[in-house]
């Protein structure tokens, strides 16, 4: 009889522990999704700004058809991206086409002085900054989620109830002007 009671107590403890772990994992996964949606909002904002930008540039440099079309194409591809992998590639593509667009604008002083163009440029760089911030937060959250589902004993719960590793979101930065900082000193 005492053995049975002891066994039951142990089983109940294990079940309670399993429930708590499961809930913790669900909470973490929610945080990952939420962090991703923050990136998504900023990506959409970026995509929304581009048609305006292209229109403005067209007014001054309509014959730079190739560059403008590349930007539009990259933007459309970025809007269609589904997986994180696709997003990564498409956004990097968009960044590089935008870079050549802004490089091109250097040759048009009237365009550079255009109020609307300046505002769009600030808006776009602001949005890219926000993407970088949101990406950092997302990666922080993914980092802690991935670490958690790999740790014993949570990994048992994780693997048996379909918690899989989430991907980091990496993006090339527009320009490498900030010195690299080493935190591990």
């Amino acid at each position: 009889m005492p053995y049975i009671i002891a066994l039951i107590v142990v089983i109940v403890i294990i079940i309670l522990f399993a429930i708590a772990t499961f809930n913790r994992l669900v909470g973490l996964r929610e945080r990952v999704r939420n962090a991703w949606s923050q990136i998504d909002v900023q990506l959409k904002r970026r995509h929304d700004l581009i048609p305006n930008l292209v229109e403005t540039v067209k007014g001054y440099a309509a014959h730079e058809r190739q560059t403008l079309e590349a930007v539009i194409q990259a933007r459309n591809a970025a809007m269609g991206a589904q997986t994180i992998q696709e997003h990564q590639q498409a956004e990097n593509m968009l960044t590089s086409t935008l870079r050549s667009l802004f490089a091109l604008s250097e040759a048009y002083p009237n365009l550079k002085a255009n109020e609307n163009f300046m505002m769009l440029q600030e808006e776009l760089s602001g949005t890219e900054g926000k993407i970088a911030y949101a990406r950092q937060h997302y990666n922080d959250v993914v980092n802690s989620y991935n670490a958690t589902i790999k740790m014993f004993p949570a990994n048992i719960i994780a693997s048996s109830s379909g918690f899989t590793e989430e991907q980091y979101f990496q993006m090339e930065d527009g320009e490498r002007s900030v010195p690299s900082v080493n935190f591990n000193r």
Binding site: H137, N143, S180
Partner: protein
């Protein structure tokens, strides 16, 4: 457009200069604000109680000196103190902002400030962006206020915008945002209003005793040893109140600054930004005109003129900037 930031490349903010993701730097404290939030809530509650008791004691002491109905007045004071606490919980941010002459910054006028603030909010994973306020003063300084992130405000001086570059400004905003995220702002803002009230009140009592009360009190004194002792206690309470108020602020302020510096770096991943900003602020010897003793502890660096010396460092609301910079450079 009077957006007068230092000329910097018009590129996106580069938080993580490498292509691969780096986890946040290891801090001495866990990368979770929950403990601190709870501690700050408790602290605020405690502060309200202490403040109320203090107000009651002062009123009682004064009315005793003047031979008024001390218990009746003390009761009135208790009621007043309760409502003051309640009121300052909900309105202290507005009081502090208007005390400092801050006006709300619009996105049209300060696009970069607003963008950076919104970005850092994303990096912190916070909901709701604090409002940005501008103080028209050439001394570089900043503070945050409000009772929770949804009702928070970050105020910066025009001097700060002029004298710092983008990365330094980002560091300062990240520092202020950490104060917002871990609810330091609740405690420190309520403290600002209450300390202001206490100092004002005791000032007023001392002065009225000095000029008006003295003679009258002596002429119709009813004497007795117990009465004299109570009178002395009353006097001590009035004299000590500003000192106690000061000590209260100190307890709130110093360790928090280090903590907020560390949290700021986990948002920007760029210690040199904040370190450079602190140095710029320290080397600027202009006092901030809108700051006073009650609001000094809110700012990122002490806005009042500092006099060096051990007694002063004992009563300083901020840790020395050199020490803060040294800690940042070590990260």
């Amino acid at each position: 457009m009077n957006d007068s930031f230092n000329p910097e490349p018009q590129s996106a903010r580069l938080i993580d200069p490498r292509e691969t993701y780096q986890p946040p730097p290891k801090l001495g404290t866990p990368w979770i604000f929950e403990d601190q939030i709870a501690a700050n809530r408790r602290g605020t509650f405690l502060l309200m109680i202490v403040f109320s008791m203090f107000l009651v004691i002062i009123v009682w002491a004064v009315s005793y000196i003047y031979h008024q109905n001390a218990y009746m007045l003390a009761f009135v004071a208790a009621v007043v103190a309760f409502f003051t606490s309640f009121f300052s919980f909900y309105n202290s941010d507005k009081i502090v902002l208007s005390m400092s002459g801050a006006v709300e910054a619009t996105k049209e006028e300060y696009p970069h400030l607003i963008n950076t603030l919104e970005g850092l909010t994303l990096a912190a994973g916070m909901r709701g962006v604090p409002k940005a306020y501008i103080i028209f003063d050439s001394a570089p300084n900043a503070f945050a206020t409000g009772r929770d992130p949804e009702h928070a405000a970050v105020a910066v001086t025009t001097g700060l915008l002029e004298k710092l570059n983008r990365y330094q400004l980002e560091g300062v905003l990240a520092h202020e945002l950490s104060h917002v995220a871990n609810r330091d702002i609740l405690l420190s803002t309520v403290a600002a209003v209450m300390v202001g009230t206490i100092v004002l009140l005791s000032d007023w009592v001392l002065r009225s005793m000095w000029y008006g009360g003295g003679r009258r009190r002596r002429s119709d004194r009813d004497g007795g040893g117990a009465g004299a002792i109570l009178l002395i206690i009353a006097l001590i309470a009035v004299i000590l109140s500003p000192i106690i108020a000061k000590l209260l602020q100190l307890a709130l302020s110093r360790r928090r600054e280090y903590l907020a510096d560390a949290h700021a770096i986990s948002l920007t991943r760029y210690p040199d930004g904040l370190a450079g900003a602190l140095e710029t602020i320290a080397n600027d010897h202009e006092p901030l005109e809108v700051a006073n003793k009650a609001t000094a502890h809110l700012y990122i660096a002490n806005p009042l003129q500092e006099y060096k010396g051990w007694l002063n460092s004992l009563f300083s609301t901020h840790p020395p900037i050199e020490e803060r910079v040294a800690r940042l450079r070590r990260m």
